[in-house]
Symmetry: C2
Subunit: 411 residues, 2 copies
């Protein structure tokens, strides 16, 4: 077929001219001029396609999946979002990272209730129907496991963005402001904290300061336009913007207003940061500014010297990302990347920088700054202060290494 | 079981006190105080849940689907988004409305190409790999079929938001700016329009003015974080922000730079607006400001007098929504609703207004204004100018009717 011949001719042309394109900074790594045979203009697809569907699915050519190790205890553990395959700031709900302690309960929403009690004027039970009648709010926020990138802290970095940073996702969450519910029950003056509890078999519970609960916490029932996915807490979860994933209680069934933190299992035995001096930081809720280059990144391959877009994601639990810088020379010099998506508080922000690879060995690093002025530190800076005992809340600068053969690796 | 008893007691309490809540304007339609039996605090779910999954799916309790009539020609037609079931501004990709003329082709992206030719300096063929190397952009935009709400124009309004306004969806689209590609091929001075063509069996093609092509058009490969869905043009489509859905060419294979519009089938035989004087408006691309109340709306039922949130969506092809007003008295008076989501240009915006229903027969209407100052007209205003020959680009104010028994209907 002529279209095939044309295709081969095109590829040959592209390869042959990439060097020339590469030597002209500012131009694009686009294919070169080809003569278009008239046959190319004819329709190659003539078959009637598939009919409409009630509920769609992705193309069978798309194979990206969440990663998890097979386990003899499948009810507990995590699965990781394939960040290198994502586009934009929204994580498809089907690829949102998971973390369960007793598996994913299947809950009939018509029987689900949220009890708010403790130091309140009027303990109340809300059905899903009650909650859906309250004023809704919708916000885009990232969710990140406190232990995300722990392997990088330990000097055993993940081989690709999914393995290094994949306990991170970002969704549009819809629900009721927790403040609305708390105003309804009437919080007593003695209340300073609350304990939120899920109804899954692990009864995961965490203490949250009242100040945050009255700020921007959402009791969410919607995710990316539809109901929460089961593994994200269907039918009801806490969304605690910018704070470690573990406190975003899923399958939320109970909120108890209390006068002090209750030292639940996941804040006494876990989710504390053991410092070099043997003392532990507790209630270190905020996920600090972090970024990762997703292309080119570990596990990928560059087709020879030339122009590439460096792309990635940045986020901060303290607000908006204001700046992302990229170094292609082991951190000696840094260039500002463009923020090329919506820039929302406590949400994933996309960045990009055009880059000409000269074919030599280089490292690619990104560091971000948030609206508080805080800049992502190096691993060395972090480890010098925090040591290696604790593995939560690590947010050091990440490097990928491009080799002469075009392979990109994590070491 | 005591929890069951408690549940029943709670329901009885709620029903009994709703009247009292309703008579206190400003308070919430929340459940009333209940005594919480100690047994209620015990865990009701004790079973280990489901394990992790590579690619998730929604809860089996969620049944919302796209609507379409069974057809003897399943390759052509539309399916409608269930707007009344959505949360936030993102439409789940699985529920994005569809419109096909020859079914959904199954395209292998490794063989897909985009040819740009005609009045250009360098005709080029881009593979998907080429396109993915170019600088990406991500924007949230609505897509709406020109014929959306035609039934309302004809005085045969859809029975619910899905049937009246369901040829509307909103996604985060990621791709390459068409401007980037056009700069790469070098547009010749004589070029004024382009013709974009899909590779499906219908070869759907439309002419677009160059000015728009150089403004904000995206050659999109990503939708809500992952690859485009097949029914949305996988692997490549045009996203023409704010313009009628038909020009957002799916399965995009070719762009031909030309000196005038080419009067293709879908701009000569269709997608023109036949006016009362027998002349037709052509190339009326922009989807003007429109809004719809999604709750309470046709097909729903109110559980007695009391407080409800009026919720809905507004959008404009000319930019941001700046105001939404709601009338509950047949359009005699209007109150400003709150815009309770991101307010983005050419994107769905959410609105809400707390409302106390006194149990009488009322109509609920919304009208929106965009940043150009344009306000959505009444049906009478529109029909007096445009007549009833054409059924595209109708954007009249929509009314739902609440009856004494709580039923909400379309007439």
């Amino acid at each position: 077929m002529r279209t095939e011949i044309s295709r081969r001719a095109f590829l040959a042309t592209t390869t042959a001219t990439l060097g020339a394109v590469a030597s002209s900074p500012g131009s694009l790594p686009a294919p070169s001029q080809v003569s278009v045979p008239p046959e190319r203009l004819l329709a190659p697809h003539r078959l009637l396609g598939a009919p409409r569907r009630q509920y769609g699915d992705r193309s069978p050519y798309e194979k990206s999946v969440r990663y998890f190790k097979p386990s003899s205890t499948p009810g507990t553990g995590a699965s990781r979002t394939p960040l290198q395959d994502l586009h934009g700031i929204i994580t498809p709900s089907s690829l949102h990272f998971e973390r369960h302690h007793a598996g994913v309960p299947q809950i009939d929403p018509s029987h689900h209730e949220l009890l708010i009690h403790g130091l309140v004027e009027r303990p109340l039970i809300f059905t899903m129907k009650d909650i859906l009648r309250l004023p809704p709010v919708s916000h885009v926020h990232f969710l990140e496991c406190a232990g995300n990138t722990a392997s990088d802290q330990l000097g055993q970095p993940g081989v690709d963005p999914q393995m290094s940073h994949g306990l991170l996702s970002c969704s549009e969450w819809t629900g009721v402001s927790l403040r609305t519910l708390l105003e309804d029950v009437g919080v007593k003056p003695k209340a300073r904290w609350l304990v939120a509890e899920g109804v899954d078999a692990s009864r995961l519970s965490r203490s949250l300061p009242l100040e945050k609960a009255l700020d921007d916490v959402i009791v969410a029932y919607g995710q990316n336009g539809e109901a929460l996915r089961p593994e994200q807490g269907y039918p009801l979860r806490l969304v605690v913007p910018g704070w470690e994933g573990n406190v975003n209680i899923k399958w939320l069934g109970r909120i108890d207003l209390v006068d002090q933190p209750y030292m639940t299992r996941d804040e006494a035995a876990f989710y504390t940061d053991l410092m070099p001096n043997g003392l532990a930081r507790m209630f270190t809720f905020v996920m600090e500014a972090k970024s990762v280059i997703t292309r080119p990144a570990g596990g990928q391959h560059l087709d020879g010297a030339g122009f590439y877009e460096i792309e990635g994601m940045a986020w901060s639990g303290r607000g908006r990302i204001t700046r992302v810088e990229i170094s292609t020379d082991d951190g000696r010099s840094w260039r500002d990347a463009e923020l090329n998506s919506l820039v929302l508080p406590k949400a994933v922000t996309r960045f990009r920088l055009p880059w000409r690879w000269d074919g030599s060995e280089v490292s690619l690093q990104s560091r971000c700054t948030d609206e508080t002025g805080y800049t992502q530190p190096t691993r060395e800076e972090l480890v010098s202060v925090r040591g290696l005992n604790g593995t939560d809340h690590y947010n050091g600068i990440k490097a990928w290494y491009v080799h002469r053969d075009g392979k990109v690796t994590h070491v």
